[in-house]
């Protein structure tokens, strides 16, 4: 399975309405809940929060990759959030984060989990592409950009 299999409009939140990191995590997990991808909001949020508490997943170039493992899901789940104005996510370059990829997986699917995170890492290396995603008008455009259409 590839990350692209998880990319559908329902899991894209654009523009995000959060103002700070706790809100961002809640908004992304809520996106998964609203899309019918998860049942247990609290468990998924806790999993992601626990990882975030160790060290911020806010990277350079405005990208953040909150992630976690939880038995509350039976397969990989992805939510994408776009905040064109940027949100303080305690990123390593101290700049606001604009592009969020939240990924959660069950503990016994570490292989697919690692592969999906690696694909996100590769995506993040393309500044031009990330800029295009941040500039997208809506979820449809985000999905089209990711599918290369």
């Amino acid at each position: 399975m590839s990350l692209i299999d998880l990319v559908v409009e329902d899991i894209v939140k654009i523009p995000m309405t959060s103002n700070d990191k706790p809100d961002v995590l809640r908004e992304l997990v809520q996106t998964l809940k609203d899309a019918g991808q998860i049942d247990d909001f609290d468990a998924v949020l806790q999993a992601v929060q626990e990882r975030e508490d160790k060290l911020s997943t806010g990277l350079e170039n405005g990208i953040a990759v909150p992630h976690g493992k939880t038995t509350a899901v039976t397969s990989l789940k992805l939510a994408i959030g776009i905040a064109p104005d940027g949100i303080d996510f305690d990123a390593m370059d101290k700049n606001p984060s604009k592009l969020f990829f939240l990924l959660v997986a069950p503990p016994d699917q570490s292989g697919p989990h690692v592969e999906a995170l690696a694909e996100i890492a590769k995506l993040g290396q393309s500044k031009a592409f990330c800029k295009a995603l941040v500039g997208a008008d809506d979820a449809t455009e985000v999905v089209e950009l990711l599918k290369g259409e």
Binding site: I4, L55, D108, S110, G111, E115, E119, S126
Partner: protein, 161 residues
């Protein structure tokens, strides 16, 4: 007509790979072929994640440990599936880049047929989205069988005496 003598099935813990294993077991039984199941601990991806600072060092170790446990769990499960049908399989796990480990094993063990689970139905034009199994399919020197239709394969497996 030559038939496969050595079959390799790639296991990554997904339902698709388990379906592939069931089909591979049926093939091995029918052709009296040797069957090997391979799980690759994707250390290459974990190193990339560490470099990208998505993983912390202790997180990398934690996931590596998880993958080792997954390898044992899924290979044992596939072994049980084979034993139920009176077959023995060789269980192998390796570390590195998934497609490279698959290709190396195919070459080293003279594998005739690689069996993999269903690939992504979406073909993105973005290079970043790649399926390791699909990459292996393109690089291995042997024939490749992509298994689909979980229900039909289950029936096939169940009917195997």
């Amino acid at each position: 007509m030559s038939t496969p003598k050595k079959i390799l099935v790639y296991i990554d813990g997904t339902e698709q790979s388990i379906t592939a294993a069931q089909y591979a077991i049926c093939l091995a039984a029918f052709y009296h072929a040797d069957l090997t199941a391979l799980y690759v601990i994707n250390t290459r991806a974990m190193e990339d994640l560490l470099k990208a600072r998505i993983f912390l060092k202790d997180e990398q170790m934690e996931y590596e440990h998880d993958m080792e446990a997954d390898a044992e769990r899924y290979l044992n499960y596939v072994n049980e599936l084979a034993v139920k049908k009176g077959l023995s399989i060789a269980k192998k796990s390796s570390r590195g880049s998934v497609h490279k480990e698959i290709t190396d094993l195919v070459k080293d063990d003279d594998i005739d047929l690689l069996v993999i689970g269903e690939l992504s139905r979406i073909r993105s034009r973005r290079d970043e989205f790649y399926d390791e199994a699909e990459r292996a399919m393109r690089t291995v020197p042997c024939s490749v069988l992509v298994v689909k239709d979980e229900d039909k394969v289950w029936e096939m497996y169940e009917s195997l005496v």
